[in-house]
């Protein structure tokens, strides 16, 4: 068996292991091993590559890998779980950037003489997708990190200008490949295309608001995979194509789940700067009477019943009150109350974010239920405790005339008692009032989530 054959077979084993690793992510019980299997797959692919190629000097390899490993390792160790969306956003960008650079270096290696070939098209696709992913992800990172405004940034002719840039990339790419008899320096045009792709990544991302970032980072995740596949086509390297396709598929699936959770189409997220509440009367928001309660009353409502469902929203994470919430849940269970947690798909700032935050607070994963699993249980539940969530439990979604009509919501208003812990009656991202707050069966527990939760822990402990 030739060495090349052995290397290709190693790539095949690596691709199979990637699949196997992802398959083990289908259950929290096996997921950790799955991640390890994927890491082994990556090691195998890298070792095979190093063996097979007249590669860089070891010094150069070590420099690159050391810089990346130190930065990556420290980030992985130090990142707060609330900041996972930013980290994933940043990493999407590095994935896209690395793939774009692979295409760029290949283009330079062959002196820009591509012609209209698969090779040429793949290189241009790699630069386009990789470039857009890189700069778009940097904007998403800055927005999520709060280093840049989370509000949509719009200007006249935005979409037209984006379309023109996209067309320019196609025309220039064709010219680079010799279409139309262009005989100037392909290198110059290539840098222009690279620059336009980077600008396009920025202009496509800035009009998207902070609340839509879960969709954007999922989509960029998908792009980072597609950029990897494009790099795979550049080199006709099968393990790159397979791994890129897996990431591309994963990202697009999550994108669709996030869109569905917000009841928005992908086109609407990408092009419609959200906040379309014009025509809705905002003057009456928060003006109707509510029943408010203090910690002792809430404790009594929760401590003497059979079943409680807790609905955590992003407000909980912002207040860092997950640990206090878990203590409340534990204390109620000690009293014999059946406690479950209902997690809406867009409860956090990225797919599955709230689940990680609760896992970090030691809430067992078999107590966490997603919307489809738990929505029919609310009507047989004694009390619901909603912490820092708003739009995801607004019954207006059932009204066909509402701006959030059709958005999947948790049926908290069907429970016998709803307790809403919130700072004020201010509206959520949708900008509309929430009828839940004014229902007879609802108690409003106003205050900062962390302090209120601490008070509630104390109050539940003091129950007879």
């Amino acid at each position: 068996m030739s060495q090349h054959m052995a290397v290709e077979l190693t790539y095949l084993v690596s691709a199979i292991l990637f699949f196997w690793g992802l398959k083990r992510l289908q259950s929290p019980a096996t997921a950790r091993v799955g991640n390890l299997i994927a890491a082994v797959a990556m090691m195998l692919a890298l070792l095979a590559t190093v063996v097979d190629n007249q590669i860089l000097s070891w010094t150069e390899i070590i420099i690159g890998v050391a810089i990346g490993s130190i930065f990556g390792g420290f980030s992985a160790r130090l990142v707060e779980m609330t900041a996972m969306p930013q980290m994933v956003g940043l990493f999407n960008g590095f994935g896209g950037g690395a793939s774009a650079l692979v295409a760029i270096v290949e283009f330079m290696n062959i002196g820009g003489k591509v012609g209209l070939t698969t090779h040429g098209v793949s290189i241009m696709l790699g630069v386009l997708i990789g470039g857009v992913t890189f700069s778009g992800s940097m904007i998403a990172f800055l927005k999520l990190q709060g280093w840049m405004t989370g509000n949509p940034i719009t200007y006249p002719l935005q979409k037209t200008l984006n379309a023109i840039m996209f067309m320019a990339i196609i025309v220039l790419s064709a010219m680079i490949m010799g279409v139309g008899g262009y005989s100037g320096s392909p290198m110059t045009l290539f840098w222009v295309v690279t620059a336009i792709a980077l600008v396009l990544g920025v202009t496509l991302t800035i009009p998207i608001g902070g609340a839509d970032m879960p969709v954007v980072i999922s989509l960029l995740n998908s792009y980072s995979g597609l950029a990897g596949s494009a790099a795979g086509f550049v080199l006709m390297n099968m393990v790159l194509i397979v791994a890129g396709a897996l990431v591309g598929a994963s990202g697009i699936i999550l994108t669709m789940i996030m869109c569905k959770g917000m009841n928005r189409s992908l086109a609407n997220v990408a092009f419609g700067a959200f906040g379309g509440t014009a025509g809705v009367d905002k003057s009456q928001i928060g003006k109707r009477p509510v029943r408010s309660a203090d910690a002792d009353m809430v404790a009594a409502e929760l401590g003497y019943v059979h079943s409680v469902i807790i609905v955590p929203g992003y407000g909980l994470a912002v207040a860092q009150a997950q640990h206090e919430l878990r203590k409340v849940g534990d204390l109620l269970e000690e009293r014999g109350v059946d406690v479950k947690y209902a997690v809406h798909p867009v409860a956090g700032r990225m797919p599955g974010h709230m689940n990680v935050l609760l896992a970090e607070a030691d809430v067992p994963y078999d107590k966490l239920f997603d919307l489809d699993e738990i929505n029919d249980e609310f009507e047989n539940t004694d009390a619901v405790l909603i912490v820092g969530a708003n739009d995801v439990c607004n019954p207006a979604a059932r009204d066909p005339n509402s701006v959030i009509a059709g958005m999947p919501i948790l049926n908290v208003d069907k429970a016998r008692r709803a307790i809403v812990m919130k700072r004020s009656l201010s509206p959520g991202f949708a900008g509309i009032d929430n009828d839940l707050f004014y229902m007879d069966r609802t108690l409003m527990f106003f205050g900062d989530a962390k302090k209120s939760m601490a008070d509630l822990v104390k109050a539940v402990r003091e129950l007879a």
């Binding site: 929290p28 420099i63 930065f71 980072i217 995979g225 598929a249 030691d362």
Partner: protein, 96 residues
């Protein structure tokens, strides 16, 4: 044409089938693991390191080598950071 179609078609087959098979596997990942799925796929997209090693290995100019090393570093951030942070998260998921 015949000579270049061969590898392209194989590549397209591989890409399409991997996407379809990937969809089957990933649709069954429960929502509770979607964040680790994303950070894990960050790590997998670090596979560009393989591409970086190949192209930079062929490179002759200094510029290409520098860009190749940058690509390698970016990929390594994803691989090391992605797998480590995913492991850190998955370690927190526990049953009662």
């Amino acid at each position: 044409m015949g000579e270049t179609m061969g590898p392209l078609l194989i590549g397209l087959y591989v890409f399409t089938l991997a996407t379809l098979a990937g969809r089957e596997v990933i649709t069954k990942v429960p929502p509770t693991l979607h964040t680790p799925l994303m950070s894990g796929s960050n790590a997998i997209s670090g596979i560009s390191m393989v591409g970086a090693l190949i192209v930079a290995g062929r490179a002759e100019g200094t510029a290409q080598i520098v860009l190749g090393v940058i690509a390698l570093a970016m990929g390594a951030i994803n691989v090391v950071g992605g797998f480590m942070v995913t492991d850190r998260m998955l370690a927190m998921f526990r049953k009662r």
